[in-house]
């Protein structure tokens, strides 16, 4: 089973027009897969993950189809999606540090959420405690208020809560960026552990720090300015990337996979285009070292050039042809 996203377009409505933050995404995540999603800040990573679970104004669903385990997700319908949220699809949001109600004891909050989803708290409690053990949190946290927890603890608590119903798909948005290096590693390892124990079937891990993905992801997808640029197994992306943008990204990382890299994905000259009124043709063309005539007028499609390796680049298509 799998997550299948087809030509998904989600825009932000603003008074000055639509911000085309996600402009046609097509990809698949298979069961057991941890897919990393990387790209410069503002390229639409959060838009993609949010739109799959909580698509609300100013976001606007434009077109596309999302299938989770052979069932269509009505992502444009806030109410209908409640049926899938938490149980089938879940998220560890970018703001996990502030995700819990500050004036409720954590255990009480969990029980209230479960109750509102018609799940019995008492019978879930043993499993909840096992999960706390798994992320190395004391059971006492259930009797505490969020401010009594450290940042890393809060994050792990949200992790436990978000995955409590064994969702088929879990999305984790920049969950490591606010943490120190050792905590980052621990959190990343826990995500893998969750997958290995099949507590979640598939994961989408968002980051702008590729070195984290190198350690945990099975595949990596690169986004640029609201578009997908490349998707391939991790080793392929790291060792033999094809898209010019990916190449630049990888080469701008100093010692990949060795240490936490302080360098964010900004080592490439130039700036991404504004998404309010994106240029025609390839959105990367202004910064692309190998751009040519065709890139100016026509948008490169996101195509599979080898089994499991997708790119959107005219130059590479020509080479392949």
């Amino acid at each position: 089973m799998s997550l299948k996203v087809k030509n998904l377009k989600v825009y932000y409505q603003t008074l000055r027009g639509d911000v085309k933050a996600l402009d046609g995404a097509t990809f698949t995540i298979e069961d057991g897969e941890i897919m990393g999603l990387a790209g410069e800040s503002g390229c639409g990573k959060s838009t993609l993950s949010n739109s799959l679970i909580l698509l609300k104004p100013p976001m606007r669903f434009v077109e596309g189809r999302v299938e989770l385990d052979n069932e269509e997700l009505p992502i444009w319908d806030m109410e209908k999606m409640n049926h899938f949220r938490f149980k089938k699809i879940s998220t560890i949001p970018q703001y996990a540090m502030n995700a819990m109600n500050p004036i409720r004891k954590i255990g009480k909050m969990v029980s209230e959420i479960l109750k509102s989803k018609k799940v019995d708290y008492k019978s879930t409690l043993p499993e909840l405690k096992r999960r706390l053990d798994l992320v190395e949190l004391s059971h006492d946290v259930l009797n505490m208020y969020p401010i009594e927890l450290s940042g890393g603890m809060k994050q792990r608590m949200v992790m436990v809560l978000s995955t409590l119903m064994n969702p088929s798909l879990l999305m984790a948005d920049e969950i490591t960026s606010a943490l120190d290096v050792s905590t980052q590693k621990a959190v990343a390892k826990m995500l893998v552990e969750f997958r290995n124990r099949e507590l979640v079937k598939k994961l989408m891990v968002i980051t702008h720090d590729i070195s984290i993905l190198y350690q945990i992801a099975d595949s990596i997808m690169i986004m640029y300015a609201g578009k997908l640029a490349e998707k391939a197994p991790t080793s392929v992306i790291i060792n033999s990337p094809r898209h010019p943008y990916t190449k630049l990204l990888i080469s701008s990382l100093p010692d990949i996979g060795v240490k936490y890299s302080q360098r964010k994905l900004t080592g490439i000259p130039g700036k991404p285009p504004l998404l309010l009124d994106p240029p025609t043709g390839c959105r990367f063309r202004e910064r692309c070292p190998v751009a040519f005539q065709k890139c100016l007028n026509e948008e490169p499609p996101f195509m599979e050039i080898k089994k499991g390796h997708f790119i959107a680049c005219w130059k590479e298509f020509e080479k392949n042809a």
Binding site: Q13, L15, P58
Partner: protein, 286 residues
């Protein structure tokens, strides 16, 4: 970071689009213009006995006359002007003190914060009206200016609180740290780094202080502790109640001053909500 010019354009754009802001500003401007153009429309003194007593509104006396035959419209216009003066001066002083106290407390933290916080709390708890009362009784001759200053000096605490909290959150941002590390003086940091980032907030604080000062002045004037040498909207209501406008049914005497205050202050509050929506993208609705 977007360029400042662009940001200003964007803010203007949203400001013009915002209905609450437009309505609020139009109402305030209407009364402001009335207050300053109005004196040209009347040739009476506010306390002169110029016509028949108990006269309802008519062509000659637009808002009617008082129990003694004074022209209510003249009183109204001059009172309006006094209200705006109190609002600007009192609200301005209140904001200024609030900003200084709040900035200093929020920026320095520690003992200074502790002390200023205590001061703020004390001024909040001591019923300011009681102090104004005493001072007003003590000063036999009082003008609008004195009244405004008193109001400003007692109305600052909540502004100080709000600004202290804002400064606290701004203080820990990168650009402030950078300035601090490079050895720039605190006062300079306040005005060059922190204040510009709080401009919208300061503006909104001033607007609220403005409205609050008008209301406090009306209260003072109503119990006869306002200016002794001038008419004001609060004093009009005081005189109306004192000289039997209620039992005599002289609505034209007491309705306009209160209605004007409610309209002006209400419009100021509305402007504030509008501004909040303009400055805070999260609150913008389409």
């Amino acid at each position: 970071m977007t360029k400042p010019k662009k940001r200003i354009n964007e803010i203007l754009y949203f400001a013009l689009k915002n209905k609450r802001l437009r309505v609020g500003l139009i109402v305030v401007l209407f009364f402001l213009i009335l207050a300053f153009v109005g004196p040209l429309l009347t040739h009476y003194q506010w306390d002169a006995y110029v016509g028949p007593a108990y006269h309802p509104p008519s062509y000659e006396y637009w808002f009617g006359t008082t129990t003694f035959g004074q022209d209510v419209f003249t009183q109204f216009i001059l009172g309006l002007k006094a209200s705006f003066l109190v609002g600007i001066i009192g609200g301005g002083i209140g904001t200024l003190i609030g900003v200084l106290v709040g900035f200093t407390a929020g920026y320095h933290g520690g003992m200074i914060d502790e002390f200023l916080n205590m001061l703020t709390n004390i001024v909040i708890v001591i019923p300011t009206l009681a102090i104004l009362l005493i001072i007003s009784v003590y000063l036999k001759v009082r003008g609008v200016l004195i009244e405004s200053i008193f109001i400003g000096f007692t109305a600052w605490p909540w502004a100080a609180r709000a600004i202290r909290a804002q400064t606290f959150s701004l203080r820990s941002r990168d650009f402030v740290d950078l300035a601090r590390i490079s050895g720039i003086k605190p006062l300079k940091i306040m005005f060059t780094e922190i204040a510009p980032n709080m401009m919208s907030y300061l503006l909104m604080t001033f607007i609220l202080q403005f409205g609050g000062a008008i209301l406090i002045a009306a209260t003072l004037d109503f119990i006869g502790l306002g200016p002794t040498n001038a008419i004001s909207l609060g004093l009009m209501m005081n005189l109306a109640v004192l000289w039997g406008a209620l039992p005599l049914g002289m609505w034209w005497w007491f309705v306009p001053p209160g209605a004007a205050i409610a309209a002006i202050v209400g419009a100021l509050y509305l402007t504030n909500v509008g501004l909040d929506e303009v400055f805070n993208p999260k609150l913008r609705k389409l």
